[in-house]
Symmetry: C2
């Protein structure tokens, strides 16, 4: 097996300087004012994919921002890998809290600071440099490669599903490789093997037709804020379990293999608690923090509002109250079915004297990787070689609804190997990429292609 580490080390300054060019392009997709830069960032990537030695790279227009697509066929009988990522970034707000400007990449203490360093430009760039390194050293690429890098991930990937649907043949592959997740320490690589799904609901409670005087009506008219509080409080029992009938029916038990994975994760509840800034941790009785986050569903109130919320003491009996309630789903929980069960349950909980409406805002399926695929062995080896330790199989409490979508549309397993570190400030000021992770990650990716070529997927 060739060793690309020397080549990567020798070229590292050039890689970083090139990545810096891309990071300077403020491709903020949430803000129409950056439309030119979004386009420019896509073109920049297309050119660099060509320069890295890929046969073909193009921009494909969508009703929104263009897709960057590239393809490199070495052997029709070799496995085909589709690399997905995104070239759009979050806004820089709050601007004042950046130590150095968001779009002026700056190295401090072994970290590269800028918007997009890990989410996701830096991680895509690692793939491009891994390929370039293989080409430069004459090793070439032993698998067929496709790149699909979109420009709307930060605004909900609105046109991705339609694009996958319309381009199944063009995008056909044996596995989808996604580098948009994290690892647990600079020397501890990770593969993300599960994501929670999500259902996001709104509950609207209507009492009197308009806000009433709490003196003239209080005690004889049902208060919608109190009604809502009662309904929200009843959504969990004293053990922190969700009371929706059937909610846990499709939640799988935690297996011995799962527990072995958990044991391999360096974890300190106190560090997690301090990072959250929460007085104490809490949750479903009988489970550890990591089990609660990774293996168990959750229900949260994301927002609540009703009545008078300004300064002082307006004596109002409010007309309305509402809450946003979302649930994180695991295993085989189905977001559509859970939404229906939630609605039925909430309507059952509604007291007399108010009218309740439940709205279903959006949902996404949970996802669990099939870790029996040989691609995981290849990834294990490549990451161990580059970082000196076998990767841990971690899970993610959050939801990435496009992952199950890729698997379903392209009928290929998704593999999530990501390189952001805890506290890397994704979506926040001072986003950073660890430079040793960047360097080792490029090495791991360059190796990975050989492993996939040897073992198949």
């Amino acid at each position: 097996m060739p060793d690309f580490r020397d080549s990567i080390e020798q070229n590292l300054d050039g890689f970083l300087s090139e990545l810096g060019e891309w990071l300077r392009i403020a491709s903020v997709s949430t803000d129409g004012a950056h439309q030119d830069e979004v386009q420019q960032a896509a073109e920049w990537l297309r050119d660099k994919l060509r320069a890295a030695g890929l046969e073909h790279a193009e921009l494909i227009p969508t009703a929104g921002n263009p897709m960057v697509f590239a393809e490199h066929v070495v052997d029709p009988s070799a496995p085909t890998l589709l690399i997905y990522g995104h070239y759009d970034v979050q806004p820089e707000d709050p601007v004042d809290l950046w130590t150095s400007p968001a779009f002026e990449p700056t190295v401090r203490d072994g970290r590269l600071y800028a918007r997009g360093t890990v989410d996701d430009k830096g991680q895509i760039h690692m793939h491009v440099k891994a390929i370039e390194t293989r080409m430069r050293t004459g090793a070439g690429v032993p698998v067929n490669l496709k790149f699909l890098i979109e420009g709307e991930e930060e605004i909900g990937s609105e046109h991705l599903a339609g694009f996958l649907e319309e381009n199944r043949d063009k995008l056909s592959c044996d596995a989808v490789l996604i580098s948009d997740t994290g690892m647990l320490g600079a020397d501890l690589p990770a593969i993300t093997v599960a994501l929670r799904g999500i259902v996001y609901m709104e509950v609207h409670v209507r009492g009197p037709a308009k806000d009433l005087h709490s003196g003239s009506y209080g005690g004889a008219v049902v208060n919608p804020c109190i009604a809502l509080a009662g309904m929200l409080a009843a959504l969990k029992d004293a053990d922190g379990r969700v009371t929706i009938p059937g909610f846990y029916d499709l939640v799988r038990e935690i297996t011995d293999r799962d527990r072995a994975d958990l044991d391999a994760v360096p974890w300190d509840d106190e560090v997690f608690r301090a990072e959250a800034g929460s007085p104490t941790l809490g949750g479903e009785t009988g489970f550890s923090t990591l089990e609660r986050l990774w293996f168990r569903p959750a229900l949260d109130v994301n927002g609540v509002w009703g009545g008078f919320t300004g300064d002082g003491s307006k004596t109002v009996l409010p007309s309305r109250a509402a809450a946003k309630v979302s649930m994180r789903l695991v295993s085989d929980q189905d977001p559509v079915e859970i939404a229906k069960s939630f609605e039925r349950h909430v309507l059952n909980l509604a007291p007399e004297g108010v009218e309740v409406e439940v709205r279903h805002l959006h949902g996404g399926h949970p996802w669990v990787a099939d870790t029996s695929s040989p691609i995981f062995e290849a990834a294990d080896d490549a990451l161990e070689r580059a970082f000196g330790r076998k990767p841990v199989y971690m899970r993610e409490g959050g939801s990435i609804p496009i992952i199950p979508l890729f698997e379903q549309m392209l009928e290929a397993p998704a593999v999530l190997i990501g390189f952001s570190l805890p506290g890397a400030n994704l979506h926040a000021p001072d986003e950073w990429l660890d430079l040793s992770v960047y360097q080792n990650g490029i090495g791991a990716l360059a190796d990975l292609y050989d492993g996939i070529a040897e073992r198949g997927v």
Copy 2:
């Protein structure tokens, strides 16, 4: 007993035209831009009190808006009546919803529409015209009279308590007569014999130090919105009773006399429900709507807020949640003690994982009239003579903290005879005064002085 009805009827057009002058002066105390008009409205009243025949009328400066004070002594051995009211008014907002402009008094269908017609300029004007009528007809005034009309009632009567304290001698009296309440129909006069007190609290719940990602933390960090919902829901039991220990200890039982008063009140739950626009009524089990409003304490959530409340679905585990909670008190419930009990109870209800702070915004004592005073007989007779029906003794679910203050400071009973009708839009667009009530009310007040002189207080 002299009959003033003819004189009032003959002069009614002049009275209304004069009241119109006063209503045109936009003495909005909540808005500093109207400062000149506040002063002008006070001067207008002083001049009219003089013109009505009172010996002495003056403006007395305070740190805020001036007091209008007037005095008329007929006989040091006769009872002295202090008439309290206010010359300031609520703002006209929302301006667009007025059928005719707020400060252009307009008669439509037997009603005079303008800001302040019933709250409270129109009601004060009835007293002035009652006195003027007695003077004009040569009957004179058989009691000693004082007027104290303030200009800050709509902004919390900030300087009233201090003024009463500093002017006990000047204001000394045998009874305080206040016309700032309502009656139940144009032909059904009322005396308000009780007001609920109030305690207004805020509950602040702090969870994590900042808003967290609900995917990365949900299920392992206590959600402050859910914690707050649990605490609010636990403030009442399934029978709608407040669960604060000792809350009902000083609530008096409803007596047979109370029930007789209630029976005299024309009341229709369906009319009240429709007016509230509430799907159904509800409250403490075992009590009628009027009992709930007039004889029982109440607890309401006036506002609640926390987390993300904009459009869409931000996946946040909120850092904080808060609620405004107020209680209406009755009988001998003490607002300071209830505030302490509330705080203790809420802190006991707080779950692990959040920090809770309870703030006490303000409070006021409940008030019950001593209806055994002979002044009530005099009022009964005067109102019956003017309106053709004996007054009902009604209560008010709302709170007027200055009423117990007057009784305490001046050591004199307060008598509440008011003339606004249900739906008169106090504090809302299209405030109105019923012209038949205005006319009959002036007659009742003119008579009342004789009754008080005869029976004493």
